[in-house]
């Protein structure tokens, strides 16, 4: 099985990586052909020389965006870990009130696409003193104008990314805190050790592997961030490597664009390597020991109410309020005009000609194209999740059982690599693959979307699969192995029933991620209206903000409903998909 996945991943992951490598050394049509004087496809080092030669070109197109990406990744990871870690600690280790509602709402920003949080930030904080001078909610309601650095640039990009990924930190760190043996801390307490010393000498070292894993995930995502800097950075010319990569692609500097893409992958790989060096040996036992039955919660006493209320207000501000703001934007005849007579439901329930002037026949609830696009997106998400989830399960099983071998390490690394490849490069390479003679049956097909999404989201599923299999002791299988029961029977009759909730969650995460994906599909869909997310992009580009906001709201509601429904029906949730553990903070 491991050999099968080795071959499959070589085809689906290594091939795109090597394709990228090739593109960095050849001349392309258009401007590159003019500049190099070489035929399309000829070998050249021009792209490297151009991008890395001392001078303004290199500084503007590589080094400055590189530094910005680094700061963004670093800032997002540190802040995300602080926010998520603090909430996780409060939920798992204290007697904080209102845990259930806080725990549920805290996950919302992760379920929403990061760029919707960026749009929300603008809707709230843009004001007449900065940028285009469009009045935001804060100024409209309270007359407060925030300064430019707060509204645009590195600072809001870090905040938005950190808020989006803080739930990741919360789930991973909270999972460890929930499951770790509390007797260690209790022993220290009995020995009258100071709280700060317990935190730094016991708690933090135990959660360190989770911290590093979280750092890897948030840093990589922040470093490769594209849409958030596009929305929040343009006004102050804050560019990241991803936005420069897109700019160079658009201008025809394909080779240099691929070098930037490779840099993003390289930095991600470096972090992955560091993470594996530090956590490789410990990761396998952090969650297996089971939790102590005597977890004693820290009593927050008088500060319990103030802390829980402040936390609740904060999570409502970044979970429920964005939904209300988006809902408000969808009923405004003209964007930014906060007047009662400007309210309309035409973008939701308009019919025929009345809404045609707004760019579409019918409001989104009565438009067949919208429903068809939603249906396709949903089907795609389910199929991609089946592909990723099932592969992730088998990869998890085979990698864990052959742990320590080179092939297992190869498969594990290859399964994680798609996470590091920028979506634009990934889509471009798969477009090229599906256009080749051998794979032309995939072109413009639904299947190519399923494959590309399945592979791109494989890291979530394979990590989930590996984590859930690590939690099961090999002894459980031993009796069946001795009896000569084949591996698939052992997997289906012994292992799956034990870990069914966490495995189901491994399927849910790709569904939710796929439901909000845009960049990965724009090149591969037969037309912009094919999926609801690509349709949303078209509305954004054509300026029909109300339709774009309505579709955004629809996607968020569906994602939230899916998570809640799945938790009610099967016990699976995004939180368990990331961590595989019990709900943080107990009941």
């Amino acid at each position: 099985m491991l050999v099968f996945f080795g071959l499959l991943l070589a085809l689906l992951t290594l091939y795109p990586l090597l394709s990228m490598l090739r593109e960095m050394f050849v001349s392309h049509a258009g401007i590159e052909k003019t500049l190099t004087g070489l035929k399309k496809g000829s070998f050249t080092l021009f792209h490297f020389k151009k991008l890395f030669s001392a001078g303004e070109w290199s500084s503007v197109n590589f080094w400055t965006p590189f530094a910005n990406s680094l700061l963004l990744g670093l800032g997002s990871a540190v802040l995300g870990i602080i926010i998520g870690g603090a909430v996780a600690w409060l939920m798992a280790r204290t007697n904080l009130k209102r845990k259930k509602i806080i725990g549920t709402l805290f996950l919302f920003p992760y379920l929403m696409p990061a760029w919707t949080m960026a749009l929300y930030w603008l809707n709230i904080f843009q004001n007449s003193k900065v940028g285009g001078g469009v009045t935001g909610l804060l100024e409209g309601l309270l007359g407060i104008c925030m300064p430019e650095w707060f509204v645009y640039g590195l600072f809001p990009c870090i905040i938005v990314n950190a808020l989006h990924f803080a739930p990741f930190a919360y789930i991973l760190i909270g999972g460890i805190l929930q499951n770790m043996d509390a007797t260690l801390e209790e022993s220290a307490q009995i020995l009258k050790t100071r709280r700060s010393r317990i935190l730094f000498k016991i708690t933090l070292p135990i959660v360190m592997p989770a911290l590093l894993s979280t750092f890897l995930l948030i840093f990589s995502s922040g470093f490769a961030s594209y849409t958030v800097p596009i929305f929040l950075g343009g006004a102050v010319r804050f560019f990241t490597l991803s936005s420069k990569m897109k700019a160079l692609f658009n201008a025809g500097y394909t080779g240099q664009a691929y070098i930037i893409g490779a840099t993003v992958i390289l930095v991600g790989s470096l972090i992955l390597y560091i993470n594996q060096r530090f956590t490789g040996k410990r990761r396998s036992f952090t969650t297996v020991t089971g939790k102590s039955g005597q977890v004693s919660l820290i009593n927050l006493r008088k500060s319990n109410n103030p802390i829980s209320i402040a936390l609740l207000v904060a999570v409502i501000f970044f979970s429920i309020v964005p939904l209300l703001v988006f809902a408000l934007q969808t009923v405004m005849g003209s964007s930014g005009v906060y007047e009662l007579n400007n309210l309309t439901l035409e973008f939701w329930i308009g019919r025929g000609e009345s809404s045609y002037r707004n760019g579409m026949v019918g409001g989104i609830l009565f438009n067949k194209t919208v429903w068809a696009s939603l249906g396709r997106l949903f089907l795609l998400s389910v199929l991609a999740a089946l592909f990723a989830g099932t592969s992730g399960l088998f990869i998890g099983y085979s990698v864990v059982r052959k742990r320590g071998t080179r092939l297992a390490r190869f498969v594990e690394s290859m399964a994680f690599f798609p996470y590091l490849i920028p979506a634009i490069s990934f889509a471009t390479i798969y477009l090229s693959i599906s256009s080749s003679e051998s794979f032309s049956f995939l072109y413009n097909s639904f299947m190519i979307l399923v494959i590309v999404a399945g592979v791109k989201y494989l890291p979530f599923a394979s990590r989930g699969g590996i984590n859930s299999m690590l939690q099961i002791s090999p002894e459980i299988e031993e009796a069946a192995t001795i009896m000569g029961i084949p591996w698939y029977k052992r997997l289906f009759y012994i292992l799956l029933p034990i870990q069914k909730t966490s495995i189901m969650s491994g399927y849910l995460l790709p569904v939710i991620t796929c439901m909000r994906e845009v960049d990965l599909f724009t090149l591969l869909v037969p037309n912009a209206h094919f999926l609801l997310t690509t349709m949303l992009l078209e509305f954004n580009q054509t300026g029909y903000d109300q339709y774009a906001n309505a579709i955004t709201l629809l996607i968020i509601i569906i994602v939230l409903a899916l998570n809640i429904l799945s938790e009610k029906l099967t016990g699976a949730s995004v939180a368990k998909g990331v961590d595989g553990g019990a709900p943080i903070g107990g009941k």
């Binding site: 080795g6 070589a10 085809l11 290594l14 091939y15 090597l18 090739r22 049509a29 258009g30 052909k33 003019t34 035929k39 399309k40 496809g41 070109w57 500084s59 503007v60 197109n61 400055t64 007449s128 940028g131 285009g132 001078g133 469009v134 009045t135 645009y152 343009g234 006004a235 010319r237 897109k246 658009n250 201008a251 025809g252 003209s334 930014g336 005009v337 707004n358 760019g359 071998t405 080179r406 092939l407 190869f410 477009l431 256009s435 080749s436 003679e437 032309s440 072109y443 413009n444 724009t522 090149l523 037969p526 037309n527 912009a528 078209e538 954004n540 580009q541 054509t542 300026g543 903000d545």
Partner: protein
């Protein structure tokens, strides 16, 4: 053994990768079947062409950056029963990646495309032999020769428009846009990511526009432009203009609503057609149509046939149709503004009273020229790119 497997996997992948390298397209010595069919089609009547098109089997696929193409396809199918046409909306920059990858490959992609950006179309697709031009001779007298090869079907204008909610602003010369008082008040899509905006800047460096920009300088400052550190007046204008620009908005629609609802006196450069169906924008925005020396940028939408189409006659009939008054109606009817057919027989039908004839805008706008773009694009792109930081 495991090492060997890993090595073999990598070796096989590398072989597959480089075996799949795109072969260089050699120039065609003889006319292809598609070119022959299109040559024949160019002199046929619509009725004769329809008969030929009916013999073609399958569905003709047209990619378009303009969503109104969908409406044209519907009326085309209604007029010519039996023909199957499918329209796909493709983004401006994705268009070149998709066509460049698809045409000549095994993919069952587009048969023809309605696309913008003369430079990218020429350098990435036409120079690579991927597109074939078709122009119906019956329109030779009513369409300017410059729009016949490559065939254009529509002209679009991007205009400087300003927020008039606190009255008139002192803006009558393009050099005013470089003044400190407009710093951060001009909204323009980042030209390093948006090719149409870059084409506009490249066109300004042509001899013709450099001369005009120098004259505008003299009119504005009362003295002749003197070359300092800049190569020409155009480069100086571009540099100072870009310093005043904000790239807050990534789409024309965003600039339109941002300037409409933003601060009085703010200026945006975006497609005039965004004012269609937008009462607030029509009320709050004023096009800078009398700006010395240009009011904006004008560029064609081209209709081109893919070299590997197996439906050349249907493509030709569709191009004939969208060049006619009936077929161009989705873009030129009374409810639409900012789109102008290249067919001079089609009159302006704008019902808002804000639009003007194509000649009016052509005399006030910088007009895209694919040949000049090809000669100057790299130099200007690099000049612009290092200034957007």
């Amino acid at each position: 053994m495991k090492n060997t497997i890993v090595f073999l996997i990598m070796l096989l992948t590398c072989c597959a990768l480089f075996a799949g390298a795109v072969p260089e397209v050699s120039p065609a010595v003889e006319l292809s079947a598609v070119e022959l069919a299109l040559n024949e089609a160019s002199s046929l009547s619509d009725e004769a062409l329809y008969e030929k098109a009916r013999t073609e089997t399958g569905t003709m696929k047209v990619y378009s950056t303009t969503s109104l193409c969908g409406t044209a396809v519907q009326s085309f199918i209604a007029k010519y029963p039996g023909l199957k046409v499918e329209y796909s909306s493709v983004g401006e920059t994705d268009m070149f990646t998709k066509l460049g990858t698809e045409i000549g490959s095994s993919a069952d992609g587009a048969d023809m495309a309605l696309l913008q950006n003369a430079y990218l179309m020429q350098s990435l697709l036409i120079d690579e032999g991927l597109l074939v031009n078709y122009f119906p001779t019956k329109y030779a007298g009513v369409i300017d020769p410059q729009y016949q090869n490559p065939t254009a079907m529509l002209l679009v204008n991007k205009l400087f428009m300003w927020n008039n909610t606190e009255g008139d602003i002192d803006l009558d010369n393009i050099w005013a846009l470089t003044e400190e008082k407009y710093s951060g008040k001009i909204f323009f899509k980042d030209p390093s990511t948006e090719p149409v905006g870059m084409n506009f800047l490249v066109m300004l460096t042509s001899e013709q526009w450099t001369e005009k920009i120098e004259k505008a300088y003299e009119a504005y400052y009362g003295k002749k432009w003197a070359s300092g550190s800049y190569k020409s007046a155009s480069y100086e204008w571009i540099d100072l203009f870009l310093k005043n620009c904000s790239y807050e908005f990534t789409a024309d629609g965003g600039i339109c609503s941002g300037v409409t609802n933003g601060k009085a006196g703010n200026i945006g450069l975006f497609v005039f057609s965004k004012l269609r169906g937008n009462e607030a924008a029509r009320k709050n925005l004023t096009p800078a149509s009398e700006l010395d020396c240009f009011a904006g940028f004008m560029y064609p939408t081209y209709a081109q046939v893919c070299k590997d189409t197996d439906m050349p006659y249907t493509c030709a009939l569709f191009i004939n149709y969208i060049l006619s008054e009936e077929g161009s109606n989705p873009w030129t009817n009374e409810g639409v503004m900012g789109n102008y057919s290249v067919n001079t027989e089609i009159p302006l039908k704008d019902a808002t009273g804000l639009d003007n004839t194509v000649d009016y805008w052509l005399s006030r706008c910088v007009v895209e020229d694919g040949k000049y773009l090809a000669s100057a694009y790299a130099e200007v792109f690099e000049f612009v790119s290092v200034r957007i930081k």
